[in-house]
Amino acid sequence: MTQQTYIGKPINRLDGLDKVTGKAKYAAEFDTPNLLHGYVVNSTIAKGKIKKINTQDALGLPGVIKVFTHENRPKLAWFDMSYKDQDAPPGSPFRPLRDAKIRYSAQPIALVIAETFELARYAASLVTVEYEEMAHQSDLEANRHRARKPASGMASLLKPPPPKPKGNFEAAFAAAPLQVTGEYVHAVEHHNPMEMFATTVVYEKGRNKSGGKYTVYDKTQGVTNSILYAAQVFDIPFKDIRVISPYVGGGFGSGLRPQYQLFMAMMAARELKRSVKVVLTRQQMFSFGHRPATIQTVALGASAEGDMTALYHSAVGETSQFEDYTEIVVNYGGMLYPPENVTLDHQIVSLDVNTPLDMRAPGGVTGISALECAVDELAFKAGIDPVEFRLKNYTDRDPLADLPYSSKELRECFRQGAERFGWLKRNPEPRSMRDGHNLIGWGMATGIWEASQAAARAEAVLLVNGKLRVSSATADIGTGTYTIMTQIAADTLGMPLEDVTFKLGDTDMPAAPIEGGSWTAATVGTAVKTVCEELAKKLFKLARKMPDSPFASVSFNEVVFVNKMIQLKKDSLMAVALQSVVDSNGGAAVRQISTGLPNMLKQRKYTRSAHSAVFAEVTVDEDLGTVRVTRIVSAVAAGRILNPKTARSQILGGMVWGIGKALEEESVIDHQFGRFMNHSLAEYHVAVNADVHDLDVIFVDEHDDIVNPLGVKGLGEIGLVGVPAAIANAVFHATGKRIRQLPITLDKLL
């Protein structure tokens, strides 16, 4: 029975002041006396063995404390299980400095520890390595014949493999009057959050078994994930270690697994009994997980009237030699479109690369980019407008799971998006619009992303000064978690926003899962709502016991929490201030810890997804092949919008990512070396300010009381998924060229 004073309002980000004044502290920014600096050395070969690693020059410099290598590293946890984090795919996780074996290029092989950063960096340049090289494989295309089914494990619960075929695709496709078939190739991408991965371990001496206490400032999308990893790998009891991460300079999935700087900093701190900071370089940001390269095949069949009858979607993605990374790439067509004959397939190829890692809209943006281009092609073949075609093949149920959607306002997304964009004025003919030497194209695509919810815990405390403090060990990677959780708490307990604080990113707080997959608003939001509701009951009980309480013979259902008071619904004059309630508690704060759980019984009867319709305009220079995205309209149906301001920003960010994926982002591997060659922000191109023009976001009203108690669906991925296909389809409309390889660089258009 939450009120809506703040929920749904465009409140300025509550962490804004810290961020615009430089006060917000990120993992590398916590100072402590006598801090040592670590600098990582990485392998220059992709596969083989370290024969010899020469550290004496580095060690000869005054101020260099130690160089850790596989030869002198401390004894560490023995079993793979200890290294498995919450986002670990099936397999055997990479263990830094385990042995002499090189498993991928730029693998971390040594850690130089020195008194200053400058010294550690210089000393690292003096470490030389002799290798025994072996032939490596890093080319997905050349190895696609080795594609196989991925192993299943815990990760398969969140990322189910494609279901069994339905109907008979081959027969239906052969009989279809309209057919399209295409192969889609996507490059490797790297997350590249602006903040480089960093860990600062503040060490305090102690006589305990683990040699002291460790306060770990880590760049992570989940402090719980980091503490589990560090505690298990280094055999440190939970009471002696605490992980803190109040601000995260971008994640996009890169922080879903503990990265190797955490291992390095913890190892050095424990061995040297000193505080240690390890910060990766931008080049090293290309030395852990990435969005896998993929090769997809999509084949669609339709009747002469444009009714889809057959759907085939297969994907081959790369993985490492030691873990089977998977993502949901091919299922979305089966969820969005009605063909009776569907075959979906997802396979992987092991290469001598690091394990791929979930990157914003993992799988979804990959699969939908291919699928929605194929649908565009089919609509064109059928001579039907792409929006019309999608409306003609619209499903109110999820045909793949044969379940109704908990809510699906996609039709309204098409309508409002098309109207805002001016889609009706579109001439369907490719190359029909131009402005001087620029060809103009309009394209559109659909987006879909799961609306998930996991379990999380939260604490709410009514402090002795009458203010409310709520906390949960979740993260805010720029998503607005601080702000929306404060809004939810304030409304649930009828308090002004300025009297409520929400804290996160600390393992001393109740546990929450890693922040990813667009589930945090639903997951932690439900926990915050639940704990505030339960605190309300506790406060009401206390209020009833107060002398001369107006609630002595009243039940909880008869009161409301409003204006920092508990009030009788029928008579607002019958009220008790929350301050008096806490005062009556013998001078102690009133606290409550609760768990927010998904209602599985209710949810399992429905498919729960956010949807979007994306409309893009591009100009393509006919002579140079340069593509510019001049405007995008994204109409999003994602349930209740808690804060239109931060929500809009998330969608805008997704659109910018869509421009990057469609036109710019590609980690280029030189297969001769098995190494990413453009490992810098000068050569790995992300969208910059001049690449981004008119972006328009529409939130379509959508009511959903099944998805979770707040009715929210999450916004981290839905802003991205449909954008690359809309851009690629606009490029086709501008040029008449169907480019099935992302990114669409100018060479592909000339």
Binding site: N12, R13, G16, K19, V20, T21, G22, A24, Y26, A28, E29, D31, Q56, D57, L59, G60, L61, P62, G63, T116, F117, E118, L119, Y122, N192, P193, M194, E195, Y247, V248, G249, G250, F252, T281, R282, I477, G478, T479, G480, T646, R648, S649, Q650, L652, G653, M655, V656, W657, S680, L681, A682, V686, A687, V688, N689, A690, V692, H693, D694, L695
Partner: protein, 181 residues
């Protein structure tokens, strides 16, 4: 401390370190004396030795703009200059950008307030650089249109993709609406 001879792997001279230098920096109006290795960048001097961590390291190669600070009012990448080269200059970082208000309390630069009002950031990591860059760009006085701003702010990458809001925030300060206070 001297180097030990036994570690030398070959006949070549073992590596040695250049002497530390005393460097006087004037940052946000305060002069500070630091003992630094001569190759210490201004960025590392600010972050590691003066603990002014508002200036961010995003690439250390002048490719992202996260470390943008103002030197004598001009925007530069603090990672592309050595601290020792900035002696005698007025360095302003995000921590020193806020103006004192009438009561002498820390106020905000109009750009800082505009960034909050326009939600011109998400994770906040590129934000100090964006803000210093915007102030530097306005000092340069070349930006007239939104397209100018986009072009002249393209040295500052925002991976969260807040660009449209950044442009709106800067425009709101450059061309204040008549009804704004």
């Amino acid at each position: 401390m001297t180097l030990t001879a036994k570690a030398a792997p070959s006949t070549k001279q073992p590596p040695s370190l250049p002497a530390m230098h005393t460097v006087k920096l004037t940052v946000n109006g305060i002069e500070t004396e630091l003992q630094l290795a001569p190759w210490t960048s201004l960025l590392d001097a600010l972050r590691e030795y003066m603990h002014l961590t508002g200036t961010k390291k995003g690439c250390d190669h002048g490719q992202c703009g996260a470390c943008t600070v103002l030197v004598n009012g001009k925007r530069i990448n603090a990672c592309l200059t050595l601290a020792i080269m900035q002696e005698g200059n007025e360095i302003t970082t995000i921590e020193g950008l806020a103006r004192k208000d009438a009561d002498g309390k820390d106020g905000l630069h109009p750009i800082q307030q505009a960034f909050m009002d326009h939600d011109a950031f998400q994770c906040g990591y590129c934000t100090p650089g964006q803000i210093c860059s915007a102030v530097g760009m306005m000092n340069e006085g070349h930006a007239r249109t939104a397209d100018d701003i986009r072009e002249l702010m393209s040295g500052n990458i925002c991976r969260c993709g807040a660009y449209t809001n950044i442009v709106d925030a800067i425009q709101s300060v450059m061309n204040p609406q008549p009804d704004a206070a």
